[in-house]
Structures are given as structure tokens and as C-alpha cells.
């Protein structure tokens, strides 16, 4: 287990450095800095002298490689810079947003796993049945939904028409506020998990060891519970890990829709204010989280499937 962890961490570091470099280059080489953006929108005019001073203060006039070296050095020590907009450290800005985001992403994934795996499982046990057809129609529809549109529809129906749930905001962080955003966000992974689980269970049901288990007189219930579920789980866990990436992408939109105070909505607001340190910080945070999840997934493989050793 420890070896796996160390190996994964060793793989993560170069990727992280590459992400830092990419994000930095994207935002500094391409035209349109925060300062030049301030005059561009036509709403604000800015004194060239002030602009000059700000450029100096923020170190924007240093040559690219100097800024890059500074940025890497700061990032490595956990300093993501100062927000152009609020003058607060970016780490503090993001720090307040991490917990709501984590809550939302995990709530969505929990919903996706509970509903998706159940649907896929029921569908696979009776292939071709009504349950199967309905589940799979449900699944392909879920994959084709625009998540924020679905969220908007949920908001309209359950919050505005039926008044069952609050329509937006974080509230006191309680359960009722998270239900709608979590369902809106979880519907995509739910659909994919339903399809994957169905395929995985069908595969396992036809495997030799399941036939052996049946032929030695094991009850169908035990075959399914003991052999099939366990083996199908590996594929399901893989999908869960991969889906966290797109889930976090979609979370940006869902957070914005439901005015959820997470990293995603901070990212969008910062983009509009051209607050580059905050934008870079948010993107790094999201990538870091995604890589961390996938490390956990790799550890989960070892726990689920004793055949996986990572001894390569």
C-alpha cells in the first residue's frame, strides 16, 4: 500500500509542475493582462501613471523567465500570490471555498453512485427486461443533459413551483440547500455509472468462475453478492475516479447557477475580473484535487482486488 502511495506521489509531482507551468504560460504569454483589461471594458478609465505603478507593484514588468521562476518558487511554498482584486492572499480566498466545493462534489458523487450502480445492477440482472430498457433510456438521457439546464429545471420545479427546497445559496450549509445542486451535478456520472455497472456485471456474470460457483450449487444470491459485485466494483471504481474530473468541470457551472460559494464560482468570478492569481490558484486547486482523488482510487484498487499489486 505504501509503495503504491509513494509511486503515485512521484508521478503526481511532474504533472503538477507541468500544470503550473502551463497555467502560468497561458496567462502571461497571451495578450490581455489584468491591467490592460481594466481600461478595455469601457466602464472604467484609468490613469496611465497609476497603471504604470500597478504594473511595477505586481511585478508585471519583469521578464517572463524571472516571473516564472518567482511564481514556481512561491507556489512550491504554498504561496499562490495576492488577489489583484481583493488584495487578500489567494490561499485564504480559496481556503474559504474549498469546503463547500468538496461537500457539493462528494454529495453529487454519492448520489451518482447510489442511483447509478443500483440502476445498472438491476438492469444487468434482467437483460432485455423492462427494468433494463427503462434504466438504459434513463442513462443515455442523463448523459445527454446539459447539467446546468437540468439544474435550472430542478430549481424551477422543486424550488419555485413546489417550494419544497431552497432555490439557491449555501444557507447554513444544511442538507436542504445541497439537494438540488448535487442532483444536477450528479446526473451525468450517475448515467455513466449505470451503463458501466450494467456492462461490468454482464461481463462478470458470463465469466468462468461464476459458472463454477453456480455449478457447485452456490445460491444465485450468494453468487451475485460474493463474486459478481466484488468483481464489477473494480470497473465502477475506475469510472468514479475518472468522472471526478468532469464532475469538477461541471461543478463550475452548477455552483454558478445555484450561487454556491465554491472554488468553481470563485474561478468564474475571477476570470471576469481578470484576477489572474486567483484564476491560477483555482485551477491548480482543482487539478490537485483531481490528482489526489485518482491516487486514492489507485489505493482502492489494491484494497478491492488482491490481484493488483503495482509490482511493475
Amino acid at each position: 500500500m505504501l509503495v503504491v502511495l509513494v509511486r503515485r506521489l512521484a508521478n503526481i509531482i511532474p504533472t503538477l509542475i507541468a500544470v503550473v507551468a502551463l497555467v502560468f504560460l497561458l496567462f502571461s504569454v497571451l495578450p490581455g493582462s489584468f491591467i490592460s483589461g481594466m481600461g478595455e471594458d469601457g466602464r472604467t478609465t484609468i490613469d496611465p501613471a497609476v497603471m504604470e505603478r500597478m504594473r511595477k507593484e505586481m511585478g508585471l514588468d519583469d521578464p517572463l523567465h524571472v516571473r516564472f521562476a518567482k511564481y514556481i518558487a512561491h507556489t512550491a511554498t504554498g504561496d499562490l500570490g495576492i488577489s489583484f482584486r481583493t488584495r487578500e492572499p489567494v490561499t485564504a480566498l480559496i481556503g474559504q471555498r474549498v469546503w463547500p466545493s468538496l461537500k457539493l462534489v462528494f454529495a453529487a458523487m454519492t448520489f451518482a453512485i447510489l442511483v447509478g450502480v443500483t440502476l445498472g445492477f438491476l438492469a444487468a440482472l434482467r437483460p432485455g427486461s423492462l427494468v433494463d430498457t427503462v434504466s438504459m433510456v434513463f442513462a443515455i438521457s442523463g448523459l445527454s443533459l446539459s447539467q446546468f439546464w437540468f439544474g435550472l429545471m430542478l430549481m424551477y420545479l422543486f424550488a419555485l413551483k413546489l417550494n419544497w427546497l431552497p432555490s439557491f445559496g449555501y444557507g447554513d450549509g444544511g442538507f436542504s440547500h445541497i439537494v438540488l445542486p448535487a442532483i444536477a451535478l450528479g446526473v451525468g456520472p450517475m448515467a455513466l455509472l449505470a451503463r458501466t455497472t450494467r456492462a461490468a456485471v454482464l461481463d462478470v456474470l458470463n465469466a468462468d468462475f461464476v459458472r463454477t460457483a453456480r455449478s457447485k450449487g452456490m445460491s444465485e444470491r450468494r453468487v451475485v453478492a460474493w463474486h459478481v459485485l466484488r468483481n464489477a466494483l473494480v470497473l465502477v471504481v475506475t469510472i468514479v475516479g475518472l468522472q471526478f474530473g468532469s464532475l469538477m468541470g461541471a461543478a463550475v457551472v452548477v455552483e454558478k447557477l445555484f450561487a454556491w460559494p465554491g472554488v468553481g464560482s470563485l474561478l468564474v468570478d475571477s476570470v471576469f475580473q481578470r484576477d489572474m492569481p486567483a484564476v491560477q490558484g483555482c485551477i491548480l486547486m482543482i487539478v490537485l484535487f483531481f490528482l489526489a482523488i485518482n491516487t486514492l482510487i489507485d489505493l482502492a484498487y489494491v484494497a478491492i482486488d488482491p490481484r493488483i499489486h503495482y509490482s511493475r
Partner: protein, 280 residues
Amino acid sequence: MKLPRLKVKGGTSLWIGGGLVTLAIVVAIAAPLIARTDPVMDANLMNAEIPPGLDFPFGTDAQGRDIYSRIVYGARISLTVGVVSQVLNSLIGVTLGLTAGYWGGWWDDVVTGLTNLMLAIPSLIFALAIMAILGPGLLSLLVALGLTSWSYSCRIARAQVLSLKSQGYVQAARILGYGDLRIMFTQVLPNILGPLIVIATLGMGGAILSEAALSFLGLGIRPPFPSWGSMLSEARDQITTAPWLSVFPGLAIFFTVLGLNLLGDGLRDIFDPQSTTRRA
């Protein structure tokens, strides 16, 4: 020749998906013929926010524009975004994948590194960053979506070259004096066209959803141009008073993407009859 299989598996997906996609394409091409009004110019405040009915099948928006006509024209933007971005992604992915697998060495390391990097950044986040830099608009959208999801086609192309490199006919081509690029594109590429078409079809659905998401955030197509995403973005504030403004563009997105997903599934069953495992 493959018809029997088509009947057994994926038949319904293929036909329903193909039908929906064909409908979207016809609507997009024939937009000026089937739209009732100009989608941008025909604003009439006398007709503002009329619910769906006989005069306006999908209702009108706050400026009195006919939602049906705007959705019809929106098909053009969505399909353009889907097709162009997937063509770009396939070109990048295939070129990188083929050359990396064929030449190997440091170039292979670079491409593999790039692919892993792409996989580490959620593609919508990456696209959002590019949109933030380039600014809103159709062209930036095509670039942002066309540059951010080539990793699947790259991986497939690379894996295929690696396994075909030692095959007799590829070696024969080399002995005949074919250049590297000619071998890659004439000998290896035809073998992976099937899976690539499947990936591109499913990717088009993804690109249309991303367009909607980015436009909704205000980073994609800007109003007044009728993209389905920008229509939704405008409609959101009127969800209590005029819910139809949100319902119809969303349904247009849903049925188009559903069509592409079903078509992709159906095509996969034809190209890869063994596969039971769905897209990961």
C-alpha cells in the same frame, strides 16, 4: 455486409440517433427557410414574453423575438461548434498519436507527457481558461474546444501504430520506400477510422454541452446571437416569469446531444461488435 449484426445490436440506437442528428443538420442548413422571423433583428416589444401558443409555438422572449426561430438558427452554431472542434481534436490527436507511436523515442515521451497533462486538467476548466484569455466569441470557442479534448484519439492512434508497426504489410510499405508519414496516414490510419469516428461523434455531443456551459457563464457566444447556450443564459433570470425561455433551448440541446450519443453507440456496435463495455 454488416447488416445482420446491425440488426442484432445497436440497431435502434443507430436509427433513432441517426434520425435526430439528421433532423438537426437539416434544420441547421434550412434555417432561413423554416425560421419564421429573423433571429436577431425581429424584436418587437409588443410581443414580449408571450407564452407558447398558436402564434408563437415556443413563445417569445423579453424583446419579443420568436424563440422557435432563434432555436432553428441556434442549430447552426451548435453543429458548427460540434463539427469543427471535433475535426480539430481528431487532427491533433491523430497526428500526435501516430507520430509518437511510429517514431518513439523522445517525441513519444513528449506526447505521452502532454496527454497525461491534458487528462489531469478537467477539459471544461481548460476550455474556460482559454476562453478567459481569448475572450468570448465563436472563433475562440472553436479554438478552446478544439484544443482541449484530443487525448482519447491520440491514445488510440498511438496504441494502434505500436501494434501495427511490426505487421508485414507495414514493413512491406517501408521496403517499397514509402515515407514515414505516408505509412502512418495510408497504412495505419484506415485501421482506426472506426473508433475515431465513434470518439468524434460522442465528442461532438460533449462539445455542444461545453458550448452551452461556457455561453451560460458568459464566456461563449454572446447575446444577441442565438446560440442555445446564450439563450439559456439570458433566460435564466426570467425563469419565474417566462420558464418557456429556458425549456425549449434546453430541449434542443438535449435532443441533439442524445442523437449524437445514440449514433455514437450504434456506430461503436458496428465497428467494434465485441465491445460490451461502454465508454469510460
